[in-house]
Amino acid sequence: MSIKKHVKLGLSALALSVSFHAMAAEDPIKVGILHSLSGTMAISETALKDTMEMLIEKQNEQGGVNGRMLEAVVVDPASNWPLFAEKARELLEKEKVDVIFGNWTSVSRKSVLPVVEELNGLLFYPVQYEGEESSENVFYTGAAPNQQAIPAVNYLKNELGVERWVLAGTDYVYPRTTNRILETYLKDMGVAEADIMINYTPFGHSDWQSIVSDIKTFGSAGKKTAVVSTINGDANVPFYRELGNQGISSSDIPVVAFSVGEQELSGIDTGPLVGHLAAWNYFMSVDNDANYDFIDAWVEFKGDDKAVTNDPMEAHYIGFNMYVEAVKKAGTTDVEAIKEAIIGVAVPNLTGGIATMMPNHHITKPVLIGEIQDNGQFSVVWETSSTVAGDAWSDFLPGSRDLIADWRAPMKCGNFNVKTGSCGASAGEQALADAE
Amino acid sequence: MSMFEQLANRDRVFEFLAPAASPVDVRHGPILYLEDVNVSFDGFKAINNLNLTIDDGELRCIIGPNGAGKTTMMDIITGKTRPDTGSVWFGSRHNLLTMNEPDIASLGIGRKFQKPTVFEALTVFENLELAMAADKRIFPTLTAIMKPEYRDRIDEVLDMIKLKTLRDKPAGILSHGQKQWLEIGMLLMQKPRLLLVDEPVAGMTEQEMERTAELLTSLAGKQSVVVVEHDMGFVRSIARQVTVLHQGSVLAEGTMDQVSNDPEVIKVYLGEEA
């Protein structure tokens, strides 16, 4: 399948190089794609790699950027975190790519981060994450906690009158952080300690019997109860199955998930899940022509009528267009120039709004709450009136309350401490510089 | 590095300190003494009130039909199997039931298995080297050096067991008989006080047998030897004292002639032959 696609890509590139060969003379813009195609993360990341190939193909059909073709450089970090760093280095040093689109898990990003900073590359990261980070070389096109978790909780509280909360997550940094943020937030809203139940499970946890029955018991204390799920990828199917089988329906104890999108649902029999919720910044079911066009293109590209789109794919769509705009604006692919140019670049997203790149390298996104339907899609039941700007540093974490990020001159700092008025990390860098 | 240097230079010291395994006390009584030993493997009584004494320097043959408990007895003496009841003494000082295989071995009890087991990946020479009596703790072993006198001793034994030509060949390629020999050779290297030899001549040619017989008899006196064997001819050729085991206990004991005339024995054992 993917082989075939390569050929397809090759052919179109060929066709173009014929038609535009005046331009083709100029060497192409190399776009590194750093997504796992094997190992545990392949489930989620393969689609993103295909998305990028599609976007590049489309862009080339329109004659590329500034008359330069784009060329995808695909590598497989194989869901192995050290390998991510190594491959990033390979892309930047060996392949000399102009920009990298990639990563899904936080850990893979953390492992790539030092490399990208050292070699001064550009990385577009398309997945919702725990925040608490802002790098000069990384652009976060996925949701920060304030663009997903907080609004979802508000919805549950206000629309469904939820008073008792189960925060269930896989035991890694994203759920940990998100849950700590939510915990603080809920307590600030006057929710009692006793009305919050926090539970962590290992990756790929497949036996949910006792946890679900605990949730059931927790939910029978009288107050309306909801589950806020940061359960990751594979563990979701058995979790939802168990919910269904133990007879917990969305009208008893609704579950709002932050990591379950159309792609995950495509692997689940959604019959028993109707009415459970998810919070994203994009749903495939969004009723909007830009979106329909994107879906049609995707279906055609995959040659599969059932192919689904999801939030990280939209994030790549936005990120890619932003990069293209920035290149046009800067008239070059020089990293420094792009960094300058891209801040403030605004491109349409797929939900009928506009996404703008903020000075903290996060973007503005609408927040949508969707209910699972029996056709594996979400029906949007609530959305923010306007887009929300991503917050690199959460206001609900003691450590980061006072931190802001702004990569414009003169501040140019990812963690500026408004209390001390100094730039945390770079101060350290300075110290190091002096030391040497 | 320095740590290793240090260790490297310690070998001599070790040999120096190497405690001579506390001597077996045979001033009063036998070298090996089994009393009322019982063993049963889930229900089946393999050894049944076995009493046996071997005198210092004696050559004893033990015969008996299959399942009489010959091998099990050896397992008990060498510490591989623990009896349910009874006592096993080596000399009058060492209670073997309180010791494990290596201790018993280093006390000076050597054993040759029924099915010859040599280290097939190692050369004949190395097999003997490992068997050689020496300080067998970790660091002495790690830092051990091949002294000329050791080599001479090994060659000596190689002569005895007629494997000189195969000195540096891996033991894996030896014939069955040769393996038997090698294993006996390993016994000799151990300089044991007591040799337990299980079916030494299985798969040997006539003259090989004769040599074995000579060898074993020559050993007797210096060392005590216990031979378990099926081959009546062989037993006759070496036997002074014979013990007949039957269903885990001693049926008869005495010289070959006494035993072979014992009606009981004839019934259960020789009878089958005739």
Binding site: D171, S400, N415 | F119, L122, I138, L142
Partner: protein, 379 residues
């Protein structure tokens, strides 16, 4: 091997070791030269990327040697050596974390970032002392060594052998993986330890440091190889082989098999730890996935592929497989697993003794059934 020389220098008299060290040292020199003195654009130039890559291979090679020592010569198939590797790595990682000091995103002088934003108040006791290099480096040996000592003591004393041993080593590393994934453990959970700045005052992001680490790894590999070689050529080495092939017999010769096993096992674990410690600063991250049983199995695969019970085979195997990985994941991202899988299958079927087997072929004509493996067959 029957020389009367000091056991530590015995290896230098064997051709295999001489060749191995020769190749290794030349490689180190050549790479260093090409990296430093070749102009960036020349085809011969070795980029920092390649240097680090090679450094990583050498770490794996050392790890493979450690595994081959216990598997090849002691017959203990450890499916948990990744655990020792990772422990060494974490010890180093903790040191590197402490070196970050107040340069972390939150600028906390003591606490690593992940502790700050998981709201830890002070450093857990087991992190104390890791700001001192010497302490950390001792722990690199001690942590895996102790684990191996305790685990080995229990296992060998009660004479756990064959697959049973293999599977509990696997259980060990699996349990450790789960444990380190827990954020309560204070090792950074899934994200592990990363964002390292400098080691012994050298900036980790400078090419010079990289080259240094690469050379250090090379030396470590050489030393490790010599040590293992010294052990296997000593009488103890022959005793190990004896334990491997006929454990009971060895006991009846008066050797304390369990102690032999324990000694070699601990040495091997420490070597693995060193490999891990050198690995971490070069790849820039340590996280619990290094504990994953599948990784440990892969190590065994390298060894088997290179040729068991030769040590240099292990090195060849490790480097070859990982090089293949690097290439395939680049040139055929969708299909590289096919290639790798096929490689494993073909080698096992057509090169039973691995690549080293090929090299030895012209030497002694070996009897078909390798006693080394014959023993596990019955387990």
């Amino acid at each position: 091997m029957t020389s009367s020389q000091n056991w530590l220098f015995r290896p230098f008299q064997e051709r295999s070791t001489q060749i191995f060290l020769g190749v290794l040292i030349t490689a180190l020199i050549v790479v260093t030269f090409l990296h430093l003195f070749m102009p960036q654009d020349s085809a011969l130039h070795v980029s920092a990327y390649t240097v680090t890559l090679l450094g990583k291979y050498l770490c794996y090679a050392l790890l493979a040697v450690a595994v081959d020592l216990v598997w090849g010569y002691l017959g203990i198939l450890s499916l948990g050596h990744g655990a020792f590797f990772a422990l060494g790595g974490y010890a180093m990682g903790m040191y590197l974390m402490r070196q970050i000091g107040d340069r972390g995103t939150y600028g906390d002088p003591i606490l690593p970032d992940f502790m700050v934003f998981l709201n830890w108040q002070e450093l857990p006791w087991y992190w104390l002392g890791f700001d001192m290099a010497w302490f950390a480096f001792i722990m690199v040996l001690l942590a895996p060594g102790l684990l191996a000592l305790v685990f080995g003591f229990l296992a060998f004393r009660s004479r756990v052998t064959g697959v049973y041993l293999s599977i509990i080593t696997q259980a060990l590393t699996f349990a450790l993986m789960l444990a380190f994934f827990r954020n309560e453990m204070g090792f950074g959970g899934n994200n592990g330890l990363t964002d390292f700045r400098d080691i012994l005052g050298f900036n980790l992001r400078s090419d010079a440091t990289r080259l240094g680490l690469f050379i250090a790894t090379g030396i470590a590999l050489a030393l490790g190889y010599i040590i293992c070689r010294a052990i296997v050529t000593s009488k103890l080495g022959r005793v190990s082989v004896a334990c491997r092939d006929a454990e009971a017999r060895t006991r009846f010769l008066g050797y304390r098999v369990e102690r032999v096993q324990l000694f070699v096992f601990v040495i091997s674990a420490m070597l693995a730890g060193v490999a891990g410690a050198l690995y971490v600063p070069q790849v820039g991250i340590i996280n619990p996935s290094e504990f994953s049983p599948l990784f440990s199995i892969e190590i065994v695969v390298w060894v088997a592929l290179g040729g068991r019970a030769t040590l240099y085979g292990a090195v060849i195997g490790a480097i070859l497989v990982n090089y293949a990985k690097t290439v395939f994941t680049g040139v055929m991202p969708d299909a590289w697993l096919f290639a790798l899988g096929a490689l494993f299958v073909l080698v096992t079927v057509f090169l039973p003794k691995g690549i080293a087997g090929l090299l030895q072929k012209r030497k002694k004509a070996e009897n078909d059934d390798d006693p080394a493996t014959a023993q596990e067959a019955t387990a």
